[in-house]
Amino acid sequence: MRSRSRKSRWVLPATAVSVIALVAAGCGGSDDESSDSSGGSGGGGGDGAPGATEESGVKLGVLGECEGPFGGFHEDTVAGVALALSNLAGAKVESKTSALDGWTGATVNGTPIELVGIGCGDDTADTISEEIRQLVEQEGANIVIGPLSGDEGIAVAEYAKANPELTVLSGIAGSQEPTLQVQAPNFFRFHGDGAIWNAGMGDILHNEEGWDTVAVIADDYSFGHTSAAGFIADFCGVGGDVTTRVFPPLGTTDYSSYIQQLPNPDEVDGYFWAVGGTGTQAALEAFVNAKGDLTGDQHAGNLFFNPDLAQALGTDIAGAYVGGFAVLPGDVQTPEIQQYLASADKTWNTLASGITGGEPGPPSAAAGFGFMYGYYSAGVALVEALEETGGDPSPDALQPALAELELDLPYGPISLDENRSGIVDVGLSQLVEKDGEIVQEAVAIIPEVDQTFGGTFSTDTPPPSRDFPPCEEADLPWVGNAIPVVDGKPQE
């Protein structure tokens, strides 16, 4: 206020008026790049409902993450979709070194699949909500593939629920809620969730390794809770007991006070770790300092356990069990998997994937990791559903077709449950010592895991939290059905 309050200020609002007027007038034509565009939403009074445009093609938006903890996997997300369209819908990628440049020529039964935009999330629900609104309301997307992470999945499912004309296929968002709680009829998930990916571990540890009691330590946020919940539901389901649960906050660097809360190795049969990022190693080192040396057969972890831990912790970690992710462990090689990986290397020369640290690397390395594979699965589902409908992308036709799909994908078959969430195969592995080095070897494939865990999780239960689920026995459909894997070969 000071001096400016006394000066003439009419130019300021006047400029604001003209800026608003110009932008308002100009914003209707932003989708002018598409040859078959009707000009979008410029008309007065139009309700702007997604998919309401007259043309029959698929206007596809992809939600990735270009910032935040998974920002490095932006390339992977679009690459997954592009690979599916390249393999199954005749798409030709625009660039041999990046998927972000999109594709041309993707058609199913004569219906073109056009990439109208790539959303740039940052692992927050707020940002992904803005991004999907932009893809749908501004770019005119009628089908969206994504998002990548759990909390984003909830927000996107909520948006889908409010916009029934839209069809959303989840990328690789691993929280239970989008399907179990939000229950948007137009949100489809052709992959598992954070709990599913630890299914079967409790069965093996309790019934084969003889663990009766276990202490759980997991990140104190939704993915940590969900991942731990899958293990707890499984381990308790088969009769084991979880004696302690410890939840260090995300971003903890000194885990010693949390390790103090864990029982000593002689008081418990084993430990389950769901601590991610740099926390995995830091927490294990704090454990070694407080409780003595690791003995690998007393430990199990979710997907964050990996052979690299041996670099700091030594080979004592051998024997630890590791949960699965969307793909099977890398040593499992079937003709279908090899064909899939080869197709990625054929489509691009290099990809700057998160799995290669953002540097150009072999596309098959990205394709063999869960992030890209989740988006690939969604892309395949879209193509196959369009084939079912004869190319009709309208929600009335496409959504029932998606719900009925049974995909035969490289890493195993995927179908959907009544909440449109994937029933998937989970590959469990073990860290083993080979020639003085720690490697990850598949030990079992748990077939047809669904997200309810025999009723532990349902539409009536709260989302996983520090004290949910309780430790209770349950009737898990997959107990005893585990397919052993020997030397990378599933034993039928």
């Binding site: 206020m1 000071r2 001096s3 400016r4 006394r6 000066k7 003439s8 200020r9 009419w10 130019v11 300021l12 609002p13 006047a14 604001a16 008026v17 608003i20 007027a21 932008v23 308002a24 007038a25 914003c27 209707g28 932003s30 979008g40 939403s41 410029g42 007065g44 009074g45 139009g46 702007g48 270009c66 910032e67 790539i118 740039c120 692992d123 927050t124 629900a125 707020d126 909500s129 803005e130 609104r133 932009q134 309301e137 501004q138 759990g150 909390d151 909830i154 927000a155 909520e158 948006y159 809620e177 709680q181 939000v182 104190d220 946020y221 939704s222 906050p249 709260p462 989302p463 939290s465």
Partner: protein, 354 residues
């Protein structure tokens, strides 16, 4: 004082902008109205509370988004009855609104009281600490939020309809704009400006400086809470990341881009911010010069830098200077001042005026 003629003209043009915004839904695209402008008005309203505290009180607050978030979280806790997280009080929506604003006001009062004896950079740092603590509280206390926040928030009728929400944001923005400007002429607002200029003098004139700062902060917090309600109605969810340091700084950046001492600047800055956020990546060939979407923050940073170099008074200051530079401005205060002001102090003293 304020040149009456220029003030009237300012008001007339502001009124014209408001009229334009009122009829905007008739000709603007849905996306522009419901996404761009609704977001602009909400962010502008939040940033206006920073302008209010800064321009009148000299208090640059980084806690405004936190207070907006408190209102949003509390509304979610109160209004939902079977949400996945939170208290699920199941109150009727308008009771929830009152509840949310009441809690926000109390929180703002307590935080304001705690900060009332600090000024300048210390006040800024303290409010930043508030923001960080607030983030942690909502991330850790699962009874009221937890890491995934409150989802499935539904606005009270009739604001479930996006256009109505736009009008709500517009009307509340206009009311806040008028009220904030009017407060400057009330005892409270004049005293705020006095506290800004010289708290010790204000104390010796009989004012309770700490209480005044506290109440100003509370008032700013209440309005931020109103913006926070609009925000959760628009976003339909809120989680700790919504009030993290990034978005917290964004509100301050909006105020700075617009011009931190102009109320108009808050909304102008918000418009620029939202437009940049939305359209930067759509500019053809933008990625050829390295500006991929993940560099958006770089673009904003460069914009802030550019604006600060051109004018510490932000875009509003630039526009004002342009208008004066081109001779478009009507007589400014300087030109209506008596020529004696430029002469020596002696001549303008009591003796000189005899």
């Amino acid at each position: 004082m304020i040149s009456r003629r220029s003030l009237t003209r300012t008001n007339a043009v502001v009124a014209a902008v408001v009229v334009l915004l009122l009829v905007l839904p008739a000709f603007g695209s849905d996306f522009f109205v419901r996404f761009i402008m609704t977001q602009t008005l909400i962010l502008g309203l939040m940033a206006a509370t920073i302008v209010f505290l800064t321009a009148y009180g000299g208090m640059i607050s980084l806690a405004q988004l936190l207070l907006a978030g408190v209102a949003g979280f509390m509304f979610g806790n109160a209004a939902l009855s079977e949400g996945a997280r939170g208290l699920n009080l199941g109150l009727s929506p308008w009771v929830a609104v009152v509840f949310a604003l009441a809690v926000t006001t109390v929180v703002a009062f307590l935080l304001g009281a705690l900060a009332s004896r600090t000024t300048g950079i210390y006040f800024l740092m303290l409010t930043l600490v508030y923001g960080v603590i607030g983030y942690t509280v909502f991330a850790q206390v699962v009874t009221i939020s937890g890491p995934s926040g409150i989802t499935s928030i539904v606005a009270p009728e009739p604001f479930t309809e996006p256009v109505n929400l736009y009008y709500a944001a517009l009307v509340l923005s206009v009311l806040a704009y008028i009220a904030f400007r009017a407060i400057g002429r009330t005892n409270f607002g004049l005293a705020m400006q006095g506290v800004r200029d010289d708290p010790i003098r204000m104390s010796s004139l009989g004012f309770n400086v700490a209480l005044h700062r506290t109440l100003a902060f509370t008032l700013g917090g209440l309005v931020a809470g109103v913006a926070g309600l609009l925000n959760v109605w628009w976003r339909k969810q809120i989680d700790p990341a919504s009030i993290n340091i990034g978005p917290t700084l964004a509100i301050l950046i909006i105020a700075v881009i617009g011009g931190i001492s102009y109320f108009e600047g808050a909304w102008l800055g918000a418009l620029v911010y939202v437009l940049l956020n939305t359209y930067t990546k759509s500019i053809p060939l933008i990625d050829q010069i390295g500006l991929t979407p993940d560099r958006f923050n770089t673009v904003i940073g460069l914009m802030v830098l550019l604006i600060m170099v051109l004018s510490p008074e932000g875009l509003a200051g630039i526009l004002e200077r342009l208008s004066r530079g081109r001779g478009l401005g009507k007589p400014t205060q300087h030109s209506v001042e008596p020529p004696t002001t430029s002469t020596s102090p002696v001549r303008t003293g009591p003796g000189g005026l005899q």
